[in-house]
Every structure is written in structure tokens, then in C-alpha cells.
Symmetry: D2
Subunit: 129 residues, 4 copies
């Protein structure tokens, strides 16, 4: 989160929004946010959205995700918004939408669908699944 | 590629291998490679593998990918190996395997399946799809 | 569509809804709609939604899809609702939601994200990509 | 499995192979195996492969899958081959390859990546996740 200067803007039960301001270190050859950064914001915001519905001493891990890169990461700001679709006993299913903001216009940049797992009594556990 | 110190190790028609040495800036709270870095290496190596079969003045864009994070990114080195499964007229389908190396043991860390698109006569084109 | 008795309920630019009534041939060992049927309705409704924005003499092919099976296919009716997220020059990105209906209550059963390709001047073409 | 006449050809720890002979009820408008059938064989063979490594009184559910449809389902036989990539405590990750056979030539038709969950002590349980 620090390396990419991600900012937690909004966190509510089942929802999270993260912003990443433009930084030329995060862009590819055309000056657009790199696909890796777009994936990371989609994943991180889903992690927080899922965790918002879990027990305090749980930790959360991403099992898998799928992302469609819909338009170039062209803008001064990258926004990730994630919503929990299903909060199951073990698994949580989220969707993430990533937007770019350019000249104050928000544009859909990527959509992702993610599966996360709750690790109970493991706020410092190191492993997964 | 520079920010994360990714090194192109092997590139052949339909295949690519990339290495990323351990760097504490690329890790999450437990000192493991972050999921965002794991996704990025899977995506980048697939991009090179796909491009290796395309025309010189084409460029390549990732349409979408799906990744399963199988074991923690725990190691001194992260390796991405990508193979082209189908080289179509417009679309290329790749699989990527990501390994961690710890005490000289290579361990499967993630597997991904990706769809890429060839943009012909566009080596400097900025858009996609 | 015929084998599984799928009914086209609503088709508008960028949207499609399909229904499949309960039939014990379409269920697995517990009497629930089989995952294969759930996937099929998600795919078919996305195909119609995407095609609704294409030229008349084009045909549409599913490139890939990802589906999360969220709750059992337990109901008297299966509903697939698909929306186009991005209608690109070549590729169309859709999301599909599948619901079960039991005792008049609609419940989210699966969510999918799909990539489709338009084959121009090919209403009878047989191949893809 | 019965409706689509799927035949279990090979089942070993961590591996499964299923065949579906051509049947015009399983095809789309061009006489090719329907994407729904291709997805079903990919899912079913992964289910058996995953279950082969589970305890006898467990049952297995597909959490999610992603499939790339690589070539048309054009042939006299559809073959699904699935391999377990990771057999975790709770989750199993599989890959499935689907082939068509035409004039004795096997051709890659689809590749899938799947996440399955083990439900312990639940050989007759009806729910998931």
C-alpha cells in the first residue's frame, strides 16, 4: 500500500474504496497506470471490503481473482471500489470496479471478480487456504 | 518493470521467463511478495510470450486474466514462466506459472490464464481492444 | 437452448434475460440445477446481450468466462440476467447474474464475467477468434 | 452426467478423464458441441480429480471456474482431462483441458482453471462454501 501510495478513502460493512494518485513510477510506457497497479487496487479494496465483515482476530487472503482490463489506465487518479457479493462461512465473493479520473470525469477502467478466504484466529498467521 | 526490478531471463517463440529478486518494498506485512507483484509477473511474462509470436510492428495488450494464488510469496526470488496455448488471428491465450525460490527449492506460488490482443501496425498505439 | 428449455424473456440494447424452468433432467444428485446449466444460462444471456449491440450480419462467440457459484441451484426457476459493461470495437465485456426462484423469492446463485468477440460479416461463419 | 452421456474413462489420485460422444442434442447451430457442454465436462472432470484426493465421507463443490474457449467443439468426441494443481486443507485448485477428436486427431478446445471446496463429513450435505 505504501509503495504505491494507496489511500483508504471509505470503509463500511461490505464496501471499500481506495484511491491511488498518479505517480510516474506506477505507469507503463505510455504514461498510463500499469495493469499490475490496476490489479493491485482491485485486489486490495476487495480485501478490505471482505475483512469489514469478518471477525477482528481473523485475517483475509485472496484465493483467486479475474480481472478484465476495459480501458487504459489514463488519468490523474485511480479509484478502486469493492463490494461483497456473498459473505459465506469460509469464503467471501467480491466484485471490484476500477475507475480512472481525468478532467474530473470518472471512467470504468477494469472490473474484477474475487474469491477471498477468512482465516479465523489468525490475525498474525502466515499461511493460506 | 524497472520499479519492481523485473529481469527478462528467457524469451523464445511462445515462451518467456522473468525473475524478480526479493526486495522488501515488494512485500506485504509478513515479508512475502505481495499478490500485486505476483499478478504483475504473471501478466508481464505472458505479454512477452504472446508478443514473441506477433509481428514486429504490433503491440500487445492484456484483455483479461484470472489468477489463483496457491502458496505464499515466500522466497528470495520470484519466477514467472509463461507459455502460449493458442496464437489466434486476433487473440492469444497464455498460461503463466509463478514460482518462489527458497533454499534453492522452487515452489508453485500461482497459476494464471490470460487473454491478450494483438494491435497490428500500432507499435506506438496507445489504446486497446 | 431447446434441450434445456431456455426462454428468452427480455432483450434490449445491452441487456438480456433468460429463464429456465425446473426440469429434473437438468439437476444434479440433490435435485438442484446443475452447475453446467447455471454456466450455460450465464453464457447464453451474455451472448444475446452482446449481440444486441452488434451489426445484423455479425455473429458472436464467447472467448472466455469466469463464474462464481454462490448458492445452490435450488428452485423452480433459474433466471439469467446479463448486462454489457463495455462494447468495444472487437470485444464485448459482459457480466451475468444468475438467480434461483423458490417460494417467489429471488436469490443470487452465481455471478459471471465474460469476454465475447464480434465476427463481422459472418452470420454463418463457423470459427472464432 | 446421464443427460449428456458423460463417461468416466480414467480416475487416479489427482487426475480424471471424462468422454462425451457426439450427440446432436448437445450441439449449437453449427453442429459443434455447445459451450455449455464444454464447460460442464471441464467442471465435472475437475470435480472427480479433486474428490480423488479427499476423504470418503467428504463431498466436493465447485467454488468458481474460468474457461477459455480456444477452438470450436467440432468433433465426434469431447474429452475432458483434469489435474489437481494444489490440494489444500479446504480448497483444491485444478486445471482442466478439453479436447475434440475428429478424424482421430485430438485438438485443444478449451482450458479451465477451477477452485473447489471440500465439505467434510457431508457426503449427503446439500449446501456449500
Amino acid at each position: 500500500m505504501k509503495l504505491i501510495n494507496a489511500q483508504l478513502i471509505d470503509i463500511r460493512p461490505g464496501y471499500c474504496e481506495i484511491h491511488i494518485p498518479y505517480d510516474k513510477n506506477l505507469t507503463q510506457q505510455h504514461g498510463f497506470f500499469h495493469a499490475g497497479i490496476i490489479s493491485t487496487i482491485a485486489d486490495n479494496s476487495a480485501g478490505y471490503a471482505a475483512f469489514s465483515l469478518m471477525e477482528q482476530d481473523s485475517s483475509v487472503l485472496t484465493v483467486e481473482f479475474k480481472i478484465n482490463l476495459i480501458s487504459p489506465g489514463d488519468g490523474k487518479l485511480l479509484i478502486g471500489k469493492s463490494t461483497v457479493l456473498k459473505n459465506g462461512r469460509t469464503l467471501t465473493i467480491c466484485k471490484s470496479e476500477v475507475f480512472t479520473v481525468k478532467n474530473s470525469i470518472e471512467k470504468l477502467c477494469a472490473v474484477a471478480q474475487l474469491t477471498l478466504i477468512e482465516l479465523k484466529n489468525s490475525s498474525d498467521q502466515k499461511n493460506g487456504n
